[in-house]
Amino acid sequence: MWCGALGRSRSNKRDKQVVQGRHINVEDTVLVEKWQLGDARAAEQLIGKYQGRIYNLILKICANPDDAAELMQDTFVKILESINGFERRSAFYTWAFRIAVNLTLNHRKRKATVGFLSLDAPVAADDEESKRTLAAVLLDDKTPRPTQLAENRELCELAQKALGMLDDEHRTVIVLRDIEDMSYTQIADVLAVELGTVKSRLSRARAALRQILEAFCDEV
């Protein structure tokens, strides 16, 4: 049955240990300690490790490459200014992600942009073929392979459009969970909310995303 593919365990738990319910990356902790002592190489290692993830996190939330570049720089400037005050009670990357998310959401509030992509903007994927593909992905019994999905450019554009139609709160939690593959505890750390809030918010976000995607399929 289809549900046999569910509930699989995560394999990326290497180099992680749980401290008071939080995942602390030992390697990151050592690098942060060195950075705080003035080790430039350790600092560059940490930045290099997370720059791509932070950029993509910001880009997925704010949807504008120029803004994302600016916000990424702001995030790292903030990290550079605050690293000596970082007390290592949480993982470095959840702390860094929290800075990035806060800056991005504040930026979004200031700009008061309606969505990630304008609904009136021409989207290459708005053709019937890509929508039929989307319907097949959502409804077929056969589970598609992720690589197949990633290679389908039109399908990705439809998915991005649907993501952009969510509100900021729902989009952020979807990005953190489904794209950044963060645990609920980590998401709670990043968003500074309770674990129960993460569960309910993610549940509502996925329901909303599902509705948007199904609406795309109904247009065919």
Binding site: L6, G7, E44, K60, E81, V137, L202
Partner: protein, 339 residues
Amino acid sequence: MKFENDPRIEELLNGFLDGELSTSEQAEVRRLVSKDEGVARRLQGLERCRLLMSSLPPAEPPAEVISRIKGLLRSRLAGGAGALDDTEHLRGAKHLLARQVLAAAVMMGLVGLLGAVVYRIVSPPDTAQRPVAVQTRPAVAPQALPVETKKTVAVEDKADVGLYSLRLATTDFAAVDAFVNKLLDESAALQYDVTKEPPKRSVYRVLCSKAGLSALVADLAQAWSKFDSATLVVHTGDIGQYVAVESVRPEQITDIVNQNMPEERIRLAKDFAVLNNISQITQAGKMLAFSDRTYPELTAIPKPVLTSGEKTAPAVPEGASGKFRVDLTIVVTGSTSRF
């Protein structure tokens, strides 16, 4: 099962999908899925959504931003805390701050300007309309007296002294002069000097209080009919400036002298001068009646009303032994003599 409306089942399905459930919760979800086709479809839909999102390809961060961040890092670690000051980011922040300060300054300036305009509109009238205290100038210095004197007089506070000349012309010089001389001699409330200029001119310089002058004028009034002319000169305090009240009557003199302020004395003297001149020109006696107090309300001088917060100088009370407030020169001449 109406699981669509049950947020707990939704959360359970999501938790199952994300591997966030305990063993017992996972067993519960498996049981639900096996028993309910709708729940199974719901779980499948959630999984497909998650799969779709996780398949979104990552974007490469701009290389120039990466190199800028590394440059910041190097300058920060090499140059200490101030190294970031040279970065474009902080320059932008400083520029923004400067603009905010400038905007605040402009706003404050505009508010100040607006306040000034509003004040100009609603402020009380200018001080020109306020009957306020006026600092009196020192009176004209007393002229040197001739040698023939009976009493030595001195004025200590010239600023408070009203300076007057009363010129009396009479055809019966000897009697009138003797009368005046006698009045002054018998009055204990004044001091005076006298200069006799034969044949028909006597100059008396009298220093007294206002009350003393009133008493003196009341006594003089008994012989007023003997005067061919009586002129009161009220000195303004400015050298060479005076108001001459011709055909002055005793009560007019008292009224003028008893005014508290120099300006009031001068104003009243001017009014009486005009009034008396008109009375001389007209044949009717009505105008004279004004000065006779037949119609006192017509000549009554209204008291000044304080219309501002600025206080006038308090009136100086005069005691029995009060200061000399009046410096009066009485010139008695024969009618043909000059003053």
